[in-house]
Amino acid sequence: MTSPKWILSAAMLAMSAMPAFADTQTEEYVRSNANDVLASLNEPGLNGDERRAKFQTYMDEFTNLDAVAKFVIGKYAKRFSEEEMDAYLTTFRTYALAVYEFYFHEYRGRDVKVTGSTDRNARDSIVDTEIVRADGQELEVRWRVLNRGGKYQVVDVALNAEGNLIWLAIEQQAQFLSILDQNNGSVDALIAKIESMTDDLVAQRPEEAS
């Protein structure tokens, strides 16, 4: 006969094992996808547009850009009309991909090593990684991964700057909210700003990435 004590012990064991299990899966998710993303920027056989298309496919799989787009406009996510939101999401997506492509360029083809992870809860984890650039400089990157119904997606990335964790989406939210607040919540003003930043990024794109 099964005793209640045994059931309790088994349940506790299962519960204690859960975070470790989530960690392993989340860590592997980040390791595999981050490496794919960086590898996609380093395929000499492809031209710039082909590489970019591949990079964008991986990024769409790896990250939840719509969630990030809505997060960075905070309270305004519920104030934009459907049309405004569609226009904003399209503009943001182009901008975000240009930003990631620009900053990941220096790390293209490099190996992403997982160095640890923390489960904030069963659906929200932080995976710590290290990327060594071609010039030997090490970059500590942390990835915030949400697990929604077994589907993992990255929603924010943090860089460690002398003991400061700079979360990119949180920084972007502070700046976007300020732009919207100063322009009476005008989606057009925000879109115009984002488009001009995208144009700047494209103009600064390294020659080998064009």
Binding site: G74, T118, K151, N164, I166, A174, S178
Partner: protein, 247 residues
């Protein structure tokens, strides 16, 4: 979302999303003024300085200026109760001033005596004094009430600011100008990145505040760095059924 709204209404806090800036209108004006002065004078001077010097020369200048400030660092390590840092700083000053030829060569680092960066604003922070309102100072740039008050004490802690010797005024003016040019030169890339941000004023305000908090912790990460991360549940995957709160 609730957490974010709550942050916005708190008078002064150190949450990831807010900086206490009740003088924002005034500060933005000073920031615009500083940008004008920078673009007209400081930036071109810094770029010119970079063009006519090489890295070892600039390193020597930076070492020399850093060494001049070591009495201030020493006093603050003592005030913060950090005896090891105080001994390191005293040893660095003696060694670099003598063997390092008035501080131009950083001999101390070559033999692994670590450099510490302390000022009175940090000391006040270690003593538990809060930031106070964010302040944009003319020319000097981002600060807050605590750190601005600390600037005056730093000046008082540096014997070179009141020691009398032949050519003392000229020496103080020359090192002041050199310090400004050297500091601006080291920030050329960072300020370019800042200017590329969607809202540089906000980016600088947040970056300054976070950097100072980290400096007060001596570069250590926060004890629980993920505790205050905002929720994404109001924004993500669009499938309401999947986002019911865990609580």
């Amino acid at each position: 979302m609730i957490a974010l709204s709550a942050c916005a209404t708190t008078a002064e806090d150190t949450s990831p999303t807010t900086v206490y800036d009740p003088l924002e209108g005034w500060n933005r004006g000073v920031y615009a003024f500083n940008e004008g002065v920078d673009k007209a004078i400081l930036e071109p001077t810094a770029k010119g300085y970079r063009a006519v010097t090489n890295e070892p020369m600039r390193g020597g200048v930076s070492n020399f200026l850093t060494n001049l400030n070591q009495p201030v660092v020493f006093a603050n390590t003592v005030l913060q109760g950090k005896p090891i840092a105080a001994v390191d700083t005293a040893a660095r000053f003696v060694l670099n001033t003598t063997v390092g030829v008035a501080g131009v060569f950083d001999v101390a680092t070559m033999i692994d005596i670590p450099e510490h960066r302390e000022d009175f604003g940090q000391t006040l922070g270690v003593w538990g004094v809060p930031n106070g309102p964010y302040l944009m100072l003319p020319i000097a740039g981002p600060s807050n009430l605590r750190d601005a008050a600390g600037l005056g004490v730093n000046a008082a802690l540096n014997p070179l600011n009141y020691a009398e010797f032949e050519g003392d005024t000229e020496f103080r003016i020359a090192t002041g100008v050199l310090g400004a040019v050297s500091a601006r030169e080291s920030l050329i890339e960072s300020i370019d990145v800042l200017r590329d941000q969607p809202e540089p004023y906000i980016a600088l305000r947040r970056n300054y505040t976070q950097q100072r908090a980290a400096a007060i912790r001596d570069g250590r990460e926060q004890e629980d760095p993920f505790k205050d991360l905002p929720d994404f549940d109001d924004y993500d995957f669009g499938d309401e059924d999947e986002f019911e709160s865990q609580e």
